[in-house]
Symmetry: D2
Subunit: 240 residues, 4 copies
């Protein structure tokens, strides 16, 4: 059965900037959903402006992996929906925050840190090195690839020590960044992927699309063990 | 300079149960503060009932390590104070949640999971194995020690994969539990230590006291690197 | 394409003990290969007594996952074959050391520690708790299961902090053990699984078979990134 | 009591190159021992050319932390001495392999991987970012520092996922590298630190000296728990 993906986007820059609207005529969510659809995933989209931000209990219950793009409107997400997303991740839903979604409420709540970084607008070269060259998220990729123009994100990146560091980026201006990080919270897999500033056509780039496709496969929920019988439990062995 | 420790306690069972009040006449916080004082730490206490739960900005600013006991009143902690504690941990304060403090707001926010467990009242034997036998938190301890009567906590324990698993407990009734877990969030070290149910004189036990003393040493903040210059940054290298 | 599994066994107890020979008439390797074959894997076996221990370059090149049982003859494995196995793991082959294979040359070389443990013969109850309840290796399993009679292995277990702790065992005699541990070395996934003493019919037990089947799936190599271009490299960016 | 440090050096380039001999008139070991002595450590040196490479059982027994520089002669180290070093690390000795010591026998045996990298001679700028800005190894350091001229090491670096990634380097030629990595094996702490090519005066640089001093403090053995009683053990609890 195909993995069911929901691509969520705050969808603000596309409304406010002609430049972004021209680059992503169907929104960043539309561009991402399009290549994931082509890759064989069952795909839908949702945006900040919809009722409940398009992330009702029903939508989330039918979502295997949630891809998330956000930037300037991270604070506009309701606490209630943020909690709902976090709970679904605990329950097994994959979560792939892209670019500034590192500042989104669900990601910060799942990680427990500030997620602070350095940044710089203006456009410069980024080279992503696949440091975890055996990881399924880099299947079919070269040992490194370049994004010709991007916003810079720089270390220190205030996140917990990750389960796996998949990519480390080199930036023309002299910084480095851990651009692909794996975490698990409860049953849910999280892959935080840095690239994707709205001012550049990054989601049309082959390698970037391949990473996100691989990440969706990797983050697809598995069965796991039976639900733990949490709470009060009688002894299994006789007590003296 | 001596590490400055604040021992926080919700201090509810001591008020509501003659049995607990008799066991811990100065409160659980008083008992813990007393042996930490004897161990050479500069120690103060704070409780839920005080204004701002006794955890003002000033108190936290002067606290190197916060030892935390809570159980039935975890939900009564104000969100504001929970946020304040989390921020101070990010900034370097050590944090040692004991027993049911695994359900406290600061701990759950720092970890990002449900922290669900199994449990059983009634009193049974627990044996803690020092699986990370080289860790500073087990300095001077035997390879295992017993708590003759305790509440049971059982796996699965819904927490992120820890940085180090220091103790694993064996329970008479057939369960196991990861009873000593290390995490870091920002600059702050966290050691979650399971023992300490209010119905038993656990904090008078030598090995338990030694673990907590060792943990305070381990969680004492270090200098670290200079504060990161987060936010907008100019390029270090010339851009083309 | 079906995962190609080689089940390796030192095959000594089966020759020396009527009791073991009766329990495992086709050898422990035969019993394991049989249920893996039934699970749809392409399966072969190899033993210590064959030329090159049955693990020629060709056999290893055609092996996706190597399941390994050894105990009393760990020291009889040639250094050359041990090196060959280690190299294939680096290159991507999955490796599943069972029971006393924790003392095998390949496992110890891959981990870099002594792998020391406590142990006790005689037969007692073990209960394995699926502490990492969302891991693919516990797919379809209950939150815990029992092995009615087994050899005990006890902590401290001298291994590096694992990538994931999947199982923790409770033993009747008072010990605990991390019975299912995940590591990666190079491209290869390693899952060390404790159960399987030759004196008990452990590999006929459903839950044990399910764990090993799941582990073979989990350890099956993926494509990963292109082979790194290690060694001397020219600069990508112009040097001043 | 002062930490007892042994600085080991293969001491080959100093004999074969006038340039290196002039840069390090007392050998690289002499230069490192000198600033560690000034920092208050009790310091000795040992080299490849001495009997047993200067690393007798007695010397190692009196060594708390072993700092190790090697490059072209890694293969000349005897297997016996390599084993001796590995055993002492398991037993608690800190181990700080510098630069090409990532190819030394003790390091590769402790890690269990190939430790392969990219490299480039010629001299270019390296900038080390303190990504783990709260770690004791970066105490007193800025968020980044530069080495004006160095040999390049590039990812992918074939090592196990580290316990902590302390430094990530940016290189002028377009590569990145995890330049400061923490591991533990048995009781022993390992910090692999990249800088230090013999063709440049890197060990005279303040920041590099500070890192190594901090690492010696961090790697100094602690007491830990009592030695585990490995091997055959009687049951603690009565068996049925």
């Amino acid at each position: 059965m195909a993995t069911r993906v929901t691509v969520w986007n705050e969808n603000v820059h596309e409304q406010e900037s002609d430049d972004v609207a021209e680059r992503y005529p169907d929104g960043i969510h539309g561009a991402i959903a399009s290549f994931l659809e082509d890759a064989g995933f069952e795909t839908r989209t949702a945006t900040l402006q919809e009722p409940e931000h398009g992330l009702t209990e029903d939508v989330l219950a039918e979502t295997d992996v949630l891809v998330w793009w956000s930037h300037c409107a991270n604070h506009e997400l309701s606490d209630q929906v943020a909690t709902r997303v976090v709970n679904r991740v605990h329950d097994g839903m994959g979560f792939i925050p892209l670019h500034s979604a590192k500042n989104s409420k669900p990601f910060k709540r799942l990680l427990g840190t500030t997620c602070n970084i350095k940044y710089r607008h203006g456009g410069e070269t980024e080279r992503l090195w696949a440091v975890d060259f055996g990881h399924p998220i880099v299947d079919g990729l070269p040992e490194s690839f370049e994004i010709p123009e991007t916003e810079m994100y720089g270390e220190p990146y205030d996140v917990p020590e990750p389960d796996r560091t998949v990519f480390i980026s080199w930036f023309e201006g002299g910084e480095v960044f851990r651009s692909g990080l794996c975490y698990r919270r409860g049953r849910g897999r999280i892959f935080a992927f840095r690239p994707g500033h709205e001012e550049y056509p990054i989601y049309y780039q082959d390698e970037v699309q391949r990473v996100i496709e691989n990440a969706v496969h990797w983050a697809t929920p598995n069965e796991g063990a039976a639900d733990p019988d949490w709470g009060q439990n009688d002894p299994i062995e006789p007590l003296e």
